[in-house]
Symmetry: C2
Subunit: 178 residues, 2 copies
């Protein structure tokens, strides 16, 4: 699982399709993971990501207190673990241990990378203006990693409740969009 540096200018292309991501945190000596679908790119470079982390999530306190997290992008092979992370609370269990996920030290933040995810984005909270009203955090990606051996990664996308979708066929369309 040797990851290589991913240029920050390429982060948006991995996030703008709207995959379910796993957010890892570390707070008071405890690492945790939550599943998240409510996120959007807000800027290309430095990459800014806006996301809703509900105060009902155990991770909320960790992100608010440490102002750090890692966004990890899982592929369909990790679907069961992703759902497991979404169905449990870090208040009661150690999700890394429970779901056999590997906590890998990050380089710029205290929160760990999830080794099994093909992309890891080390993030710092840069704007909390909308946290009180909407639980909406704005993150800056300060370091990004990708597994170069991973061909044709199929991301997971949430369709509400217990329904998810795996990334399908690639379409090449002429686009002037960056």
């Amino acid at each position: 699982m040797a990851k290589r540096n991913l240029p920050l200018s390429k982060v948006y292309a991995l996030m703008e399709s709207g995959p379910v991501v796993l957010v890892s945190t570390a707070h008071k000596g405890k690492a945790n993971i939550m599943a998240m679908s409510w996120h959007t790119m807000m800027e290309f470079e430095p990459p800014l990501i806006g996301c809703v982390i509900s105060e009902m999530n155990f991770s909320f306190k960790a992100v608010k207190a440490t102002k750090e997290c890692v966004i990890n992008i899982p592929t369909v092979e990790l679907a069961a673990q992703m759902a497991g992370c979404g169905n449990t609370s870090g208040e009661n269990i150690d999700k890394f241990s429970k779901f056999k996920l590997t906590a890998v030290p990050a380089s710029n933040v205290t929160a760990p990378l999830i080794g099994e995810c093909y992309v890891n984005l080390e993030c710092r909270v840069i704007d909390t203006r909308l946290v009180k009203q909407y639980n909406f955090f704005i993150l800056e990606v300060v370091k990004a990693w990708i597994d170069p051996a991973r061909k044709d990664p199929k991301t997971i996308h949430h369709l509400g409740m217990d329904k998810f979708m795996a990334a399908g066929e690639i379409l090449k369309l002429r686009s002037k969009m960056k």
Copy 2:
């Protein structure tokens, strides 16, 4: 293309997978369309959607001035038109005419629905605090429509530049997530 009312409580499930959407507006007697991938759900009900509409987009002025728009979800059959909308500016052309899309009157906003899209969300801008810094608008969905005849809609997801992905296989995973 008889659309039926979609309960507002069901909107999030159609948006949280991160599809490319077409945003339609009407301003100074002119209707326009832009393609958008940078959006996220922010609340279940009433459904709130946060999105980046760049001031470089012709639609920016229309959304800012009218505080209204419609979010239309296209499927893969509309991929060419979607890319066309993303590659052109409403400053120069009438996109409804150019891409043979049908402007259907909305019930709660002046902006038209795009008839060919299987879902249409009539939206009002409710929060502009982050527009100046990030071009980030928060929209409330006030009325939603769906084409009940549409089975297995395949949404389109952007992967940067000219690369897109069609929604693939449905995964059923136990989930406590709403």
